[in-house]
């Protein structure tokens, strides 16, 4: 099986030849090319090159067109503040006062030079792998994007105190998100990773998600012309799994803070996760293997599972050797049928 066949099989809740592995590496491409993180993300061809090199090196099952989270707000007039050893921060908010929302206009993705670099990277990756390897595109959900557009605190106040303006911002963000997701699909992305940490029960109480975010997610995902994975970016989702399944998404990215088996038992969705990206920086080969085995034991049976980190972005601090150990362990322990999970209890 090639990576695409492997992934499609598992998404159909069937067991492929082995558990698919998505190493969601973005910044590590800069190391491959000997560039700084900031230099690396200036050109789509560099990102495509970095992704293809990492695919070859780590032997995982996807390409990832993700640059960094604040790219979307950069396209909206914001700034990213780069650092040497991690993803850039979002700079000053583009919405400084609630009144700004009344006159806010968001760009079309095709008018943003920065987003065009992502589309270029996507096209180049597609040219290189065709339909053999899934290319994962990325959007920030309309419900979560305001954290970068206006800051967490002001956004919480908006949700709970300024309902009309909140609805207007959601409408604007929905249009942007749908256009941006569909542009990536058109450029060659196979699926969209829809980041929605604010929906997670780590951040939002279930009832408040139902009241404020659930319909936004349903409307948006229904208009994205390809499969989506809703990703909690380390946030918890057990208490909203039933709701996420109703959004139309096919997969959920889950937190290392939750029990993968419990999620698997309760979820109708396919599962992406949940290796702990923070702990990973200290893993030796044995620990990498043990963690891979534990995840496969919890969620591998019957397919419907892709092994990945829990955040959707492997930290810069993770060594190449660790990623290679993870990849090796998946090849060793992820082969279907997973008879070993019934034979040992470690």
């Amino acid at each position: 099986m090639n990576s695409m066949e492997r992934v499609l099989a598992t998404l159909s809740q069937n067991e492929p030849d082995r558990v698919p592995l998505f190493l969601l590496v973005s910044m590590h491409g800069a190391k491959e090319l000997g560039l700084s993180i900031q230099e690396y993300f200036q050109k789509g061809e560099q990102v495509a090159d970095g992704q293809l090199r990492m695919l070859k090196k780590f032997g995982h099952d996807c390409l990832y067109n993700f640059f960094y989270a604040s790219l979307e707000t950069e396209a909206m007039g914001g700034q990213s503040i780069f650092r040497k050893n991690g993803p850039p921060n979002s700079g000053a908010p583009i919405i400084r006062n609630f009144e700004d929302i009344e006159i806010l206009e968001l760009p079309r993705p095709e008018d943003s030079p920065r987003l065009l670099e992502v589309l270029k990277a996507t096209r180049l990756m597609k040219e290189a792998v065709g339909d053999t390897v899934p290319i994962i595109g990325v959007v920030m959900s309309p419900f979560s994007l305001p954290v970068m557009q206006m800051g967490f605190e002001r956004y919480f106040d908006l949700i709970f105190q300024y309902h009309v303006l909140f609805q207007r911002l959601m409408a604007l963000n929905e249009e942007f998100c749908v256009a941006w997701a569909n542009a990536q699909l058109e450029a060659g992305a196979s699926a969209i990773c829809y980041y929605d940490p604010v929906a997670s029960s780590t951040i939002t109480f279930r009832d408040d998600y139902i009241k404020n975010g659930f319909d936004v997610d349903k409307r948006t995902i229904s208009r994205i012309k390809g499969p989506t994975a809703i990703h909690m970016a380390s946030g918890r989702c057990l208490s909203i799994l039933d709701l996420l399944a109703q959004t139309g998404t096919t997969m959920v990215g889950v937190s290392a803070e939750e029990d993968l088996k419990e999620i698997k038992d309760q979820s109708k969705l396919n599962i992406l996760g949940n290796l702990n990206g923070i702990r990973m920086r200290n893993w030796n080969a044995d620990q990498a293997e043990a963690n891979v085995k534990a995840a496969i034991r919890a969620a591998g049976s019957g397919g419907g599972f892709i092994l990945a980190d829990n955040h959707g972005e492997i930290p810069w601090q993770i060594q190449e050797e660790t990623l290679l150990s993870i990849s090796k362990a998946v090849r060793q322990w992820g082969k279907y049928p997973l008879r070993w999970i019934h034979e040992t209890t470690e």
Binding site: N89, E153, S201, E258, I278
Partner: protein, 212 residues
């Protein structure tokens, strides 16, 4: 204090359901018969601590923690003179987000610490190691609270410690942020005097570090 558990339970329910009017009524009722410092120590702080623990184990959402801290801080500011709630033996406190612009955690901790009767200076977000160290020394801070959402920022706390040590004064650091929740070992890698697992834990840690 009589019926403290009942009041705690009622206040917690009101805060978790974001019912500010009800929470205000409960506190106004209490304040007619109870000294303000006792309301803070016996009701408000235990409730905020309980809400913080609830977030840590997944029963409470961050929006609820934020709203609870914000309400308590605002209520104290508007209902009484600030001086009534300043602890006499309060150490000089400051809070900052180190090389990181995610300021929600700072805001929540700031509210809760103020709600606990402490004065605390806010040194802002996105501040570099050197600038923060200079500011801390300049303001003669005793305990610095450092909030960090991103792993690289957490790892910079050791650089901050080195910069502070050059001042010759023993300044205590309390660190907190999401990376610590995902890796217990991280605490051991960071030269902080304490790590708070949630915002409400900070008050107990301040009391412990300052010997109050």
């Amino acid at each position: 204090m009589e019926n403290s558990e009942l009041y705690q339970s009622r206040l917690k329910t009101a805060l978790l359901s974001l019912d500010r009017i009800k929470a205000k009524l409960i506190l106004e009722d209490l304040i007619t018969t109870t000294a303000p410092t006792e309301v803070v120590d016996s009701i408000m702080i235990p409730v905020l601590e309980s809400i913080g623990s609830g977030w840590e184990d997944g029963r409470v959402a961050l929006t609820q923690v934020y709203a609870a801290g914000q309400f308590c801080e605002q209520w104290l500011d508007t209902a009484f003179e600030d001086k009534l709630f300043v602890k006499k033996e309060s150490p000089k406190l400051a809070i900052a987000v180190l090389e990181d612009f995610h300021s929600l955690g700072k805001r929540i901790v700031y509210s809760i610490v103020k709600g606990g009767g402490y004065q605390i200076q806010d040194f802002g977000a996105g501040i570099s190691v050197d600038k923060l160290a200079n500011k801390v020394i300049e303001e003669d801070i005793d305990i610095l609270l450092v909030s960090a959402l991103m792993l690289p920022s957490v790892l910079r706390i050791n650089n901050l410690r080195q910069a502070l040590e050059q001042s010759g004064k023993k300044i205590k650091i309390i660190a907190g942020g999401a990376p610590f929740r995902f890796d217990a070992i991280l605490k051991e890698e960071i030269m902080a005097d304490a790590v708070a697992n949630n915002a409400s834990e900070v008050i107990g840690i301040i009391e412990h570090l300052s010997g109050s």
